[in-house]
């Protein structure tokens, strides 16, 4: 896997990392839990056919500023800033988990910005009958199998690069976890249910068959609410972080839907 080109974008006094690779139709990717501590294989596969752009969300690797965001309006505005900063106009938008919740919000608040929408196991809804897991009330040993059906792939994704200080790396991952919690604590319900009808873009819902965080049945709840055309794809042998567990299958599904 060769790395992406990296730029630093400054809007107001917020700065973030922007990764980009590939040519063709632009596709903006918003990362999931832990963000993008490294360039993942799934983006490299997408970049073989499309122009993949991944701006860092506040508090996730490559950006700070999450501690200035207090409510959903702040988060949506910060996400819109990032999409504007990609300077590609209306485009395909892909978000995973926490990034999926924000991608859905963007598609609801600014439908004209999104050509096609891909949500990989997004947060944003909560149903008492089948609650989303509490990912922040777990023993340390319980976390990898909760997030991933292939803990080795997750461990590789989160492994510290040789040239990074061990403490800095721990702080980086802890900050990403905090940033996700800042948006989603305590249940992950953003009130998105009331806005789903505003999503007009054709939408692909991608779910790991073994998602232990946001149950796969949530795809039905999203599909029922979204106004645009909806397709749903189940990824075999994948957990909540399906794009890490099964990058090939997830990339194929996204390319099939957006090409």
């Amino acid at each position: 896997v060769s790395g992406p080109a990296e730029r630093s974008i400054l809007v107001g006094d917020e700065r973030w990392r922007l990764w980009e690779k590939g040519e063709g139709e632009p596709l903006i990717f918003l990362g999931g839990l832990r963000g993008l501590p490294r360039w993942p294989k799934v983006l490299d596969l997408l970049a073989t056919q499309q122009r993949v752009i991944a701006p860092s969300l506040p508090g996730f690797p490559g950006a700070s500023g999450h501690d200035r965001l207090d409510d959903l309006a702040d988060w949506v505005a910060a996400t819109l800033d990032r999409i504007d900063g990609c300077e590609v106009g209306p485009c395909n938008l892909v978000g995973a988990s926490v990034g999926g919740a924000l991608a859905a919000e963007v598609a609801a608040f600014s439908p004209a910005l999104v050509k096609r929408l891909v949500l990989i196991a997004p947060f944003g809804l909560f149903d008492d009958a089948e609650p989303v897991a509490d990912i922040w009330a777990k023993r340390l040993s319980e976390i990898p199998p909760l997030l991933s059906a292939k803990p080795d792939a997750l461990a590789e994704f989160l492994a510290r690069p040789d040239d990074v200080d061990a403490i800095d790396w721990q702080v980086l991952l802890a900050r990403a976890n905090e940033a996700a919690a800042r948006l989603l604590w305590p249940t992950g319900d953003l009130g998105l249910r009331k806005r789903l009808h505003r999503i007009q873009a054709p939408t692909l819902l991608v779910w790991g068959s073994d998602d232990r965080v946001v149950p796969a049945s949530y795809a039905k709840r999203f599909a029922a609410g979204i106004s645009g055309w909806v397709e749903t794809t189940s990824i075999a042998a994948a957990g909540h972080m399906a794009e890490i567990d099964q990058p090939e299958a997830v990339a194929d599904a996204i390319l099939g839907f957006t090409s």
């Binding site: 922040w136 802890a174 905090e178 919690a181 800042r182 604590w185």
Partner: protein, 416 residues
């Protein structure tokens, strides 16, 4: 020095197999274990014990706040403090305290503490803890990433509400109130003494020093474990150019007094074991909500390599399970004859330089007879050996200034 009597109000009937059958004493503790009729007895015994301590001459009696917690039956310490205000005469009422970020709006704290200050004739000490992760983030659902920001804002709001002479508008980040006008207002002016229960972070020490607040270290693990923290606190005071007035600090200590050390070891073992093994059976799941610890604290933890993962005892438990020998050996509980306890506590106070010692003379499932015995032995035979300490040398600027005795109201006797 000031000697204060602290009650945690633990539920005393957790079953013998509690640690084997239940994951945690906190947050998701099994509700079926709570018997309200037994709690009727416990609450009344516990309040008797606090009142007894006041009668026996302790300088202050302390209550605190916990939620969904089997060892702390005081979700609202203010309720208990208000009854103590009526049933005690001149003892300081130390509310340690109200976790400010949990109150909406936080002016509720300013109101209730002012009420208790009025009822008690100006005897309130106002404690403002951030609160544990279990209480704040899990039981009360507060966002751990916002907790401290909310805490600081709530503090600023409460302090302004007590001191501002006119109604004002608070357009804060988390609280927006068009009209802030706390009524009643506290007797103690400009405000009751402020005590901050804290962990060991440098940020909190500085914050206390800047505002001239008392810093209290409420650890369950005694003076040996607290030594490094208090040394750090005083070094920071030196660094900031503050004096070493011991009344800037408070420290919590479990104590068991008997006629002899052998007797003390005999009679307090069960209660200590109940507290450290049953009451502190806290699932590690609740220990580390993301954002609760600052990045500075995370760095310090990793650098010091104190613990495998953020000071957790293991993957499963937040705290160790010590034997009674460890409990005594490590100084979690100070045990002995009155003279031995006095000597140890004098050493603790002098060595840690703390002018406010908060004593847990009830702990675990201790019954009321044993609590009374411990309290009386302490009051009669330990207290006289300690109470003069620091008093000549230092002024305690952090103690309530109540109304003169002749000005205070006397509650009417109630016919039974």
């Amino acid at each position: 020095m000031k000697l204060l009597w602290f009650h945690l109000m633990p539920y005393t009937d957790l079953p013998d197999d509690f640690t084997e059958r239940h994951p945690s004493v906190w947050v998701d503790i099994d509700p079926s274990l709570f018997d309200p009729i037994r709690a009727h007895g416990m609450y009344n015994e516990f309040m008797d014990e606090l009142e007894h301590a006041a009668e026996m001459g302790f300088d202050g009696i302390c209550v605190n706040e916990h939620h969904s917690n089997g060892y702390g039956m005081m979700p609202s310490p203010n309720l208990i403090a208000s009854t103590l205000a009526r049933r005690t005469r001149d003892t300081a009422l130390v509310i340690l305290g109200n976790s400010l970020a949990l109150y909406n709006p936080p002016t509720r704290v300013a109101e209730e503490m002012a009420m208790i200050d009025c009822i008690s004739g100006g005897r309130v000490i106002a404690g403002f803890p951030v609160g544990t992760p279990m209480d704040t983030c899990y039981a009360y659902g507060r966002n751990p990433s916002q907790l401290r920001q909310r805490y600081y804002e709530a503090h600023d709001l409460v302090m302004k509400a007590w001191q501002e002479p006119e109604p004002f508008t608070w357009n804060g980040r988390f609280n927006k109130l068009r009209y802030v006008n706390v009524w009643p207002r506290p007797i103690q002016q400009p405000h009751p003494p402020i005590w901050i229960p804290g962990g060991g972070s440098v940020e909190t020490w500085r914050w206390c020093a800047e505002r001239d607040y008392v810093y209290t270290y409420l650890s369950y693990f005694g003076y040996k474990a607290g030594e490094a923290t208090m040394r750090g606190f005083w070094e920071e005071m030196d660094h900031l150019g503050k004096d070493r007035n011991p009344f800037r600090a408070g420290f919590l200590q479990f104590v068991g007094v008997a006629e002899s050390r052998a007797e003390a070891l005999d009679i307090y073992g069960e209660a200590a074991d109940y507290f450290y093994n049953r009451c502190l059976h806290v699932d590690a799941r609740w220990a580390m909500p993301p954002g609760y610890a600052s990045e500075k604290t995370i760095r310090a933890r990793v650098e010091s390599q104190i613990a495998k993962a953020a000071n957790l005892a293991s993957d499963a438990r937040a705290f160790d399970q010590p034997s009674f020998e460890d409990i005594v050996e490590q100084g979690y509980v100070v045990i002995g004859s009155p003279d031995e306890v006095a000597e140890q506590l004098r050493e603790v106070a002098v060595h840690l330089n703390v002018g406010h010692l908060m004593l847990l003379l009830h702990f675990g499932n201790m019954n009321s007879q044993l609590t009374a015995y411990n309290t009386e032995l302490f009051a009669k035979r330990v207290m006289p050996q300690l109470s003069g300490l620091f008093e000549d040398e230092w002024e305690n600027r952090w103690w309530p200034k109540p109304l003169a005795q002749e000005s205070t109201a006397t509650p009417r006797e109630v016919a039974r």
